[in-house]
């Protein structure tokens, strides 16, 4: 096989993959439960199958790893703790407006922070994370009382969220050195673009 043929084959695979991505639905799947949530499996799959939630959680881990120092763990620790406040507000049915917009903005802001390698003081990063965590927690919390087994559902989705954070930290630490962290910054840009996708109604 000549180099031209190989290049053409790669281009075709890339184009097919891109068309496959375009075919993905544009709704915020992490916060839609069609027929009532059930147990652990449902809770675990919930954040993994919703691209908006997945991108935000991944970005939290990636940003923490990019900032380095204490932020590697303070950001992923703060997120679920503050998410609980939003979750309880959702469980109690306290009305909050612009939750879906907040979720989309969280992806854009976190993506841009990574893209520009922004390293603010720790309290600023934690404050930003906390606002976003309330939006994500509210969306999940409003679904919890409908779950057939709230215990297993909560355990499943918090553990999955934590794993996405850890995945983000791992990727962030792995991409810290190569090309002076440029790959991580490009990833941040792509995450921000993904957030723009969720702004479109």
């Amino acid at each position: 096989m000549t180099s031209d043929q190989t290049r053409n084959r790669r281009t075709t695979i890339l184009l097919i993959s891109l068309f496959g991505l375009l075919a993905a639905p544009g709704v915020a799947n992490a916060h839609v439960i069609q027929a009532g949530a059930s147990g652990f499996q449902s809770g675990f799959v919930h954040p993994l199958t919703g691209p908006d939630h997945f991108l935000a959680m991944f970005a939290v881990g990636l940003w923490g790893a990019q900032m380095g120092g204490r932020s590697i763990w303070t950001l992923p620790v703060t997120f679920p703790l503050i998410m609980v406040i939003g979750g309880i507000m959702g469980i109690l049915g306290i009305p909050l407006v612009g939750i879906e917009l907040g979720i989309a903005l969280s992806i854009i802001a976190l993506g841009l922070a990574i893209a520009f390698a922004w390293k603010p003081p720790e309290w600023v990063a934690l404050l930003l994370i906390s606002v976003f965590a309330i939006c994500h927690g509210y969306a999940h919390g409003s679904e919890l009382p409908r779950a057939a087994d709230p215990a297993d559902f909560a355990i499943g989705f918090v553990i999955a969220t934590g794993f996405i954070h850890l995945f983000g930290i791992g990727v962030g630490l792995a991409l810290h050195k190569p090309y002076q962290g440029r790959i991580a910054r490009i990833l941040g840009g792509l995450i921000a673009l993904g957030g723009c996708y969720f702004l479109v109604p």
Partner: protein, 247 residues
């Protein structure tokens, strides 16, 4: 030799217990006794196992004697939990929907384990004993609530034994393969425990929405029919010679 034995004690203990549980699970359902069924379907749940694993992990970050106190406190808490089970139920009965969620024993355990993991190690050594006591007491209450044998001590002993096995296995395994980043990693896990405990507790307290009732017009209501008409009939009086008299 000695250090190697200490190093592998945790994994070997864990493996032995896991093999025993798998062998019990392989037994056909009809051959399983009530206690085996309870172990497989009530004791082996994520809500039960997570606080025990958390407690074992936290014990690995403190001194040996402090961990020993923790294990003793866990056993004492379990004994206290069995002893005060009725009082605990009466106390927790005031919480909405508590009876549907094992009187919130799992969220309380998760909060105790999460708090123990999230605090700095300097505080962990002070909190390990009271947290172990609370987790032990909650385990005992959960065992008492799910025990299918009613007042049989076998389930209680096996339940506490399984709890101790989970705590000691985690403690020995993490202690043997300790890495400097482990306390930080478990601090992240501790935040998950607290989040799970608070969300589960919160969702339990909120009443589940009821299904909307169907409109009456669409309901096909069967005509009322008295299946036992003789009950509504006035009682016939009997004369002394055995003949009935119309009322």
């Amino acid at each position: 030799m000695n250090s190697s034995a200490t190093c592998w004690a945790g994994p070997i203990l864990g493996l032995a217990g896991a093999v025993a549980i798998v062998l019990a699970a392989l037994e056909p359902l009809g051959n399983q006794d009530l206690v085996t069924w309870w172990v497989l379907h009530r004791a082996m749940t994520a809500g039960n196992a997570l606080p025990l694993i958390g407690l074992g992990a936290a014990m690995a970050f403190v001194r040996w004697w402090q961990a020993g106190f923790g294990i003793a406190a866990f056993a004492a808490g379990a004994a206290f939990g069995f002893r005060t089970h009725s009082s605990f139920i009466a106390f927790m009965a005031f919480a909405p929907n508590a009876a549907d969620h094992l009187f919130l024993t799992e969220p309380i355990s998760l909060l105790a384990a999460g708090l123990l993991l999230i605090v700095p190690v300097s505080l962990t050594r002070w909190l390990v004993t009271p947290s172990a006591f609370v987790i032990g007491a909650m385990l005992a209450n959960k065992i008492a609530l799910t025990d299918p044998t009613l007042d049989g001590w076998r389930v209680s002993f096996i339940g506490v034994g399984l709890g101790l096995w989970a705590v000691v296995t985690t403690f020995l395994s993490i202690r043997a393969f300790y890495k400097a980043w482990l306390p930080i990693g478990f601090r992240i896990v501790g935040s998950w425990f607290i989040a799970i405990g608070l969300l589960y507790g919160g969702s339990s307290l909120v009443a589940r929405p009821t299904l909307p009732s169907l409109p009456d017009d669409n309901l096909a209501v069967p005509a009322q029919r008295n299946e036992f008409p003789q009950i509504d009939e006035p009682r016939r009086r009997l004369r002394p010679d055995g003949f009935s008299v119309e009322p």
